[in-house]
Subunit: 251 residues, 2 copies
């Protein structure tokens, strides 16, 4: 009898931002798999459910074990931070599934850091936006640079994932230098650290200042478009209603 | 005494995909504001809470009324589908807030259609992605075209919001024609209709076929990157682990 492998997006680091579907899935699971920081979040909801975890960067082993457990008939919840798909494990599991007896695969979406971080800053992603990860672990840096140029030039709002770590201390600086080829240095930017956790903090400033901002691996950075501005301490990208008085009284 | 205005992302059309924070906010609210399709979702959770709604395209009036109610001391939940910020009302409310006595503004993030639709299709957004709305109600079409060229050229995965409506029957076709200038016609694409609702459905095909696919205003369309492929009937964008055997045993 084959089981089900649920890939579950837990949202940012707090049960409040989990969906009902995520919580229900955790409650029904026989076993929780994932990186220990995320399984800890799940265990806060279902403390008695067994956990299988592997060290960081052993994603392939972790996904294979989850598939193996499901192929034995277990109901398995593979947990990811944020969304299950966005830089998450859903794709890798689907790539590896053919190695095992067939299992049902169920993706449970969640709130990715672009959205949860945006809510902390105000409304920076109200118009077309993109996410770019500055980690070149799995994507060649040239490809990342190409996307930064494109996003800068076409005036996307941008959420930068993995902006900086000990292994890549200069990536955020390099990314900002590329964006500065296309954008005003005064472009409104923001950073949110430890989204949803007790020690959550944020910063709002300019693209010129973001370049030298001290991020770490717990940060997500945001770059506004040319219309983004600061209103009452918040980072706000207008959607364009100011040109559409027919959408409400005009005073 | 000033009240609080919560802008609440409800996720796709089903209570299962609401976050705990969204449900808690609805339960504490004195009044729900929003477009009637979304207030109906909220009323399924809190049937006894009063509702203020305005017709479609009266967003400015709706936001002003929500601000006015909050400035009178009420706890107001302005509800949006998906996320509160992504093409949502959070930005507009912050733009209009200065017209009223100060109120606390609280953004409650939610699962936007890019993420909930992706979960239905498989894992199409596993690498850098962007969202582009094909509605030119609030954004000039030239700006949309520029973003389509940029996203096509830099190989972003793309979620197309508002791909088609009676008012813009040709926008999806035009968008695909632009993407086809940069991408292989065999690029894997998908469409999800009525995400999270009982009559949810999806389609997976190619960019050449997406061009002539019959969408409506309940659809979100997805365009893969050059590595996206179909695995066991699902749309999957690899993250790049196949080049990183050190992230797990290599067989």
């Amino acid at each position: 009898m084959s089981g089900t492998l649920h890939i579950v997006g837990l949202g940012p680091g707090n049960e409040r931002f989990m969906t009902q579907a995520a919580i229900e899935t955790l409650k029904n699971a026989d076993i929780i798999c994932g990186y220990h920081v995320y399984t800890a979040l799940a265990s806060a909801v279902v403390p008695d459910t067994p956990v299988f975890t592997t060290p960081m960067r052993k994603e392939i082993d972790r996904c294979r074990e989850a598939l193996r457990l499901a192929s034995e008939g277990k109901d398995v919840a593979m947990v990811c931070s944020g969304d299950a798909g966005v830089y998450g494990m859903a794709g890798l599991i689907m790539e590896l599934a053919h190695e095992f007896d067939p299992v049902d695969i169920d993706v449970v979406c969640g709130v990715t850091a672009a959205l949860s971080g945006a809510a902390v800053l105000g409304a920076p992603l109200t118009n077309d936006f993109c996410t770019i990860s500055l980690s070149d672990q799995l994507t060649p840096w040239e490809e990342i640079e190409k996307r930064l140029h494109a996003a800068g030039e076409a005036d996307f709002c941008i959420a930068l994932y993995n902006p900086m770590s000990r292994h890549r201390p200069l990536h955020l600086q390099k990314a900002c230098d590329i964006l500065l080829e296309h954008r005003n240095p005064e472009t409104v930017c923001g950073v949110v650290r430890q989204i949803g956790r007790d020690d959550q903090s944020f910063w709002i400033g300019t693209l010129a200042k973001l370049r030298d901002y001290e991020c770490d691996m717990f940060c997500t950075a945001f770059v506004g478009n040319e219309k983004t501005r600061i209103i009452d301490g918040r980072m706000v990208t207008p959607r364009g209603y100011e040109k559409k008085p027919e959408m409400g009284s005009t005073d």
